[in-house]
Amino acid sequence: MSVTPSQTVGPYFQIGLIHERWSSLAGNGERITIEGSVLDAEGVPVTDAMIEIWQPDNKAFGRFATDPSTGRFAFETSRPVSMGPDAAAHLCVGVFARGLLKRLYTRIYFDPTAINGNDPILSLVPYARRPTLVAVSTGDRRYRFDIRFAGEGETVFLEC
């Protein structure tokens, strides 16, 4: 059988997909906050994007919309841990929006030295672009991670 193709979530996904219970990720351990903006090819905030977070090390799931006036997002989770000798700790990120005909997949890493390591995914990314996948620590268990669809500092997107 052949798969059903993807279509955009459109501008009205909140009706069916946004629930308070997924606004932060469950889990024990040290709680951290990740915040950022979703930006388009011209750097304009995307005020109608949906982000899904899959945390494979503790099987936590989160889903939320960017702020309808600022395009910003923030969520809380437990600090991810590495799942293998070379694998660097990370979160999997799916981005959906009007104008996205299919999900964009990226990852959030936390260890700035991971760009020089042997993570099986990170090591496939052109070296100069690896930093777009690493959240920037802003102190007090807070991190910044922007998602730029295209243009200056375009986030690395993955195909699986």
């Binding site: 059988m1 979530v9 011209e42 293998g84 999900r103 669809f149 243009g151």
Partner: protein
């Protein structure tokens, strides 16, 4: 530990590209750099398992949440959630959302000059059963205008969100209705390059599922990526 399931990438051919200029919003929202093709690690091959969390039977009836009946043509939309090998995907979360019968969404940003229906909210969800079956009762949504190009109208559709067993099987799509005269003019429908693949987004009228004196039935089977068969499966 058993070996990880193997997913082919052939299925990705069915999807639209990110950049589809006739759909104007893709122009500033599609990546310019090529995607980095990655191997399937445990992270892509695992995913949220919602189990029976808090999905209630009434969540599958979109007509049952107002003081009275919503206005419009009552329909039953049902089908199976399957993988590429035709295997049922059981116990998997299906979420839907849609416009009302006038083509208006209950959403602050929808400015279409068509009436809201106080008895219709437009969201539903359910879990597939052991054979991958799902079923919703709802109102047939109306077509609606949008600003993509002059006199642009979306064919009537219901938005569907599916998970399947792992991160890489996740799918968001739209279900269309058979024979819609707006198909030739819709850049979102036509973002799917292959005509046969486009047809897989169209439900078919289902007389069997039609409940006499009550509601028309439509059947929409949804196929997600599936793992290659493992030697163990051959053996049983």
């Amino acid at each position: 530990m058993s070996s990880l399931p193997v997913y082919s990438r052939e299925a990705l051919q069915a999807d639209p590209p990110y950049l589809h200029p006739p759909y104007a919003s893709t122009r500033l929202r599609s990546p310019r750099e090529p995607l980095v093709i990655v191997p399937h690690t445990l992270s892509e091959l695992s995913g949220p398992a919602f189990g029976h969390s808090d999905v209630r039977p009434e969540d599958a009836d979109l007509t049952a949440h107002g003081q009275g009946q919503p206005i419009g043509e009552r329909i039953i939309v049902h089908g199976r959630l399957l993988d590429e090998k035709g295997r049922a995907i059981p116990n998997s979360l299906v979420e839907v959302w849609q416009a009302n019968s006038t083509g208006r969404y209950r959403h602050a940003r929808d400015q279409h000059d068509a009436p809201l229906d106080p008895n219709f909210f437009g969201a539903g969800r359910c879990l597939t059963d052991a054979e991958g079956r799902y079923q919703f009762t709802t109102i047939r949504p109306g077509a609606y205008p949008w600003g993509n190009h002059p006199n642009a109208w979306r064919p009537a559709h219901i938005h569907f969100s599916l998970f399947g067993p792992c991160f890489l099987t996740r799918l968001v799509t739209q279900m269309y209705f058979p024979g819609d005269p707006l198909f030739p003019f819709d850049p979102i429908f036509h973002s799917v390059p292959d005509a046969k693949a486009r047809e897989r987004m169209i439900a078919r009228f289902d007389l069997q599922a039609t409940r006499p004196e009550w509601a028309l039935g439509f059947r929409f089977d949804i196929v997600l990526r599936g793992p290659e068969e493992t030697p163990m499966e051959h053996g049983r």
